[in-house]
Structures are given as structure tokens and as C-alpha cells.
């Protein structure tokens, strides 16, 4: 069997570029909820992802062995993308983003302002407000948002480096529930559109990429898989497969059969 840890390389002529930086994969992955750090590192490796999200939290002073993600992931090898997960106001998100930048290795931030604790759906007004403030402060903002065209346009107007509509709610694994909305956003935006949240399995990733979006970000689908390393490899392949299928262009759908073999030359 082929090694699970060898992701296929993205075609050089189809590189995703965000804020001027070419990336080696269209798949971005999170670091939350893994059973162990060793499993997380192996899964990220198997996914082929370059952009890897992390969260900003207080150091737990009662657990001296807690080293944090920088101990496990080399910022020279991965583009560690700090998020503002858990923030419910623009001010809070801006504070977390600035703390993340002070770590000293990136001015990119995955902006996330949650509006509701039960659905984890974004507060899009607060997201736009925070995006404006962070962009004025020199950040490259990748903004998590609802699959709403108008919000996506506002985020692009604000100067976001990428706009990240959800496929379905964070951690739900429901897959892409509204392909039409995501296609509409992709058709209207010039900045990269990265679908963030909701993908559950490899077919979801392929279907999402087949809409023509520029990339996918996922965490739970990998961390909660029975075998995260195997699923990460599957997601890397599915992301690439979906991208290739989109570029290739699918055949038309028709509601009647058309034979693939000649109708002539049959034996009498």
C-alpha cells in the first residue's frame, strides 16, 4: 500500500495564492480535538496541508508540561494561522488577533466572531467591523463567515485576504448544505474563497471543491475520524480530486440513458 504520509503535490500551475503567498495545498487543517499531539502531527503531515490553524488561550499554570502548539509544529514548515475562535465581540477578536501576532511569526489571522453559542454561527456584522480594524492595523485577514453573498462582498470590500464561508456549522460534519450559495459567492468574489467548517468526510471535500472554491479548511472531520491519519490523507486526495474535477468540467446531467457503446455493428 502506498504510504499514508506522502501527499500528492499540487500542480505548480494551479497553486492557491493568498496575500501573495503561494501555498502547497488547497486543504487547510486545524489542530483541535486530537487524541494526542503525536496523532495530530502525523495527521497534518498526511493531509499535505501547509496552512494549519491554532487557537490563542491562557497558559494553564497548573499544568507545567503543557508546551503549546509551537512546541509541536514548526512555524518554518507550516503556515500557522492563529484563529480568534471563541470570541463573541469585535473587540475581543481584535485583542486575540493582536496577541497572536505578538508571538512574532505571522500577521495572518483567521477571524472568527461567533454570534450564537448553540449553532456557533458567525456574527457577521461584528466580523466585518473586526476585519476593518485588523486590516487597518496591517493584518492579513481570512474571515470565517456565513454562506451569505452580501457579507462575503462586504468582507472583500473591507480588504480581507480570503473569505471563508461555512459548508455547515462548525463541528457538525453535515457537509456542504448549500452549494448554490457557495458557488454564488465564488462567482462574485475576486479574493480566494475557502470553505471553512462542516465537511464530514472525503466525498464532502470533493463535492465542495467541485463548486470551484479555492480551498477548504477542516478540523473535526480529521480529529474525530476513527483513524485521523488515514482520513487526513483521504481529505488531501479528495480536495485535489474535487479541484481537478472542477477544472476538467463535468458532463451534463440528463434524465435518460445514453449508451456508451456503438448501436451499430450488433450481430444479427
Amino acid at each position: 500500500m502506498e504510504s499514508l504520509s506522502t501527499p500528492t503535490a499540487l500542480a505548480v500551475d494551479d497553486r492557491l495564492v493568498i496575500a501573495g503567498r503561494p501555498l502547497r495545498s488547497r486543504l487547510m487543517v486545524g489542530t483541535g480535538k486530537y487524541r494526542s499531539n503525536a496523532e495530530m502531527v502525523a495527521a497534518i503531515e498526511a493531509s499535505g496541508a501547509e496552512v494549519v490553524t491554532v487557537a490563542v488561550r491562557r497558559v494553564d499554570l497548573n499544568r507545567a508540561d503543557e508546551e503549546g502548539m509551537l512546541f509541536h509544529l514548526d512555524p518554518g514548515r507550516y503556515l500557522l494561522l492563529p484563529n480568534t475562535a471563541g470570541c463573541y465581540t469585535a473587540a475581543e477578536a481584535v485583542r486575540y488577533a493582536r496577541l497572536a501576532r505578538a508571538a512574532g511569526f505571522t500577521d495572518w489571522v483567521k477571524l472568527e466572531v461567533i454570534g450564537d453559542a448553540e449553532t456557533l454561527l458567525p456574527d457577521v456584522a461584528a466580523t466585518i467591523e473586526a476585519a476593518r480594524e485588523l486590516i487597518a492595523d496591517g493584518f492579513n485577514v481570512l474571515a470565517y463567515t456565513n454562506d451569505d453573498l452580501i457579507t462575503a462582498l462586504r468582507l472583500e470590500d473591507a480588504g480581507c485576504a480570503a473569505v471563508m464561508p461555512l459548508a455547515s456549522p462548525i463541528g457538525s460534519g453535515l457537509g456542504l448544505v448549500n452549494p448554490y450559495n457557495v458557488r454564488t459567492i465564488k462567482a462574485r468574489l475576486s479574493v480566494p474563497v475557502i470553505v471553512d467548517a462542516g465537511v464530514g468526510t472525503a466525498s464532502d471535500a470533493a463535492v465542495t471543491m467541485e463548486q470551484g472554491v479555492d480551498g477548504i479548511l477542516m478540523n473535526t472531520a480529521l480529529a474525530e475520524a476513527g483513524d485521523p491519519v488515514r482520513m487526513s490523507r483521504a481529505m488531501g486526495l479528495a480536495t485535489e480530486a474535487g479541484r481537478l474535477a472542477y477544472l476538467a468540467g463535468r458532463m451534463p446531467r440528463r434524465e435518460r440513458a445514453v449508451p456508451s457503446s456503438p448501436l451499430t455493428g450488433m450481430l444479427s
Binding site: 486530537y34 487557537a55 490563542v56 488561550r57 491562557r58 503549546g68 502548539m69 509551537l70 505578538a102
Partner: protein, 74 residues
């Protein structure tokens, strides 16, 4: 008070009241907590502290510090 006694000051550290040795620098505090200064970001009285200043900034009674780092997240 004997010369050997260590003076302490009360501060607010990651949301909890703590007594720490008097006249500590931020770097000294991190090292006393067995934290690597290179892996921790410090907010001191609401202001983010640049890492180059950890060794020079001293902590005073009543100061508030937040020590944060990166953890797993999506």
C-alpha cells in the same frame, strides 16, 4: 523581618490572584513558572508586551498579567 525572608507582592495572573516574589521581571516570572519566554505572549496591564522587553519590565503589586500561547484549534 529577617534578611532571608522573601518579599512578595500580590498580582492578578491569568485571572487569579497570586503572590510572587517582589521585583521580578516578566522574564523572571516566566522562568519561575517553567515557561519558555519564546513560546508565551504576555499582556501586561492590558498592553501587549514585546518579547524584547520581557527582561527589562518589572512587575509591581497590583499588576495584571495574561500569559497566552497557542493551543489546538480549528
Amino acid at each position: 523581618m529577617s534578611e532571608l525572608s522573601v518579599l512578595t507582592v500580590g498580582i492578578r495572573l491569568n485571572g487569579e490572584d497570586r503572590e510572587i516574589a517582589d521585583d521580578l521581571t516578566v522574564e523572571g516570572l516566566l522562568l519561575s513558572l517553567k515557561l519558555r519566554p519564546a513560546l508565551v505572549v504576555v499582556e501586561h496591564n492590558g498592553e501587549i508586551l514585546r518579547r524584547e522587553r520581557y527582561a527589562e519590565v518589572r512587575i509591581h503589586a497590583g499588576d495584571s498579567l495574561e500569559l497566552v500561547h497557542f493551543v489546538g484549534g480549528g
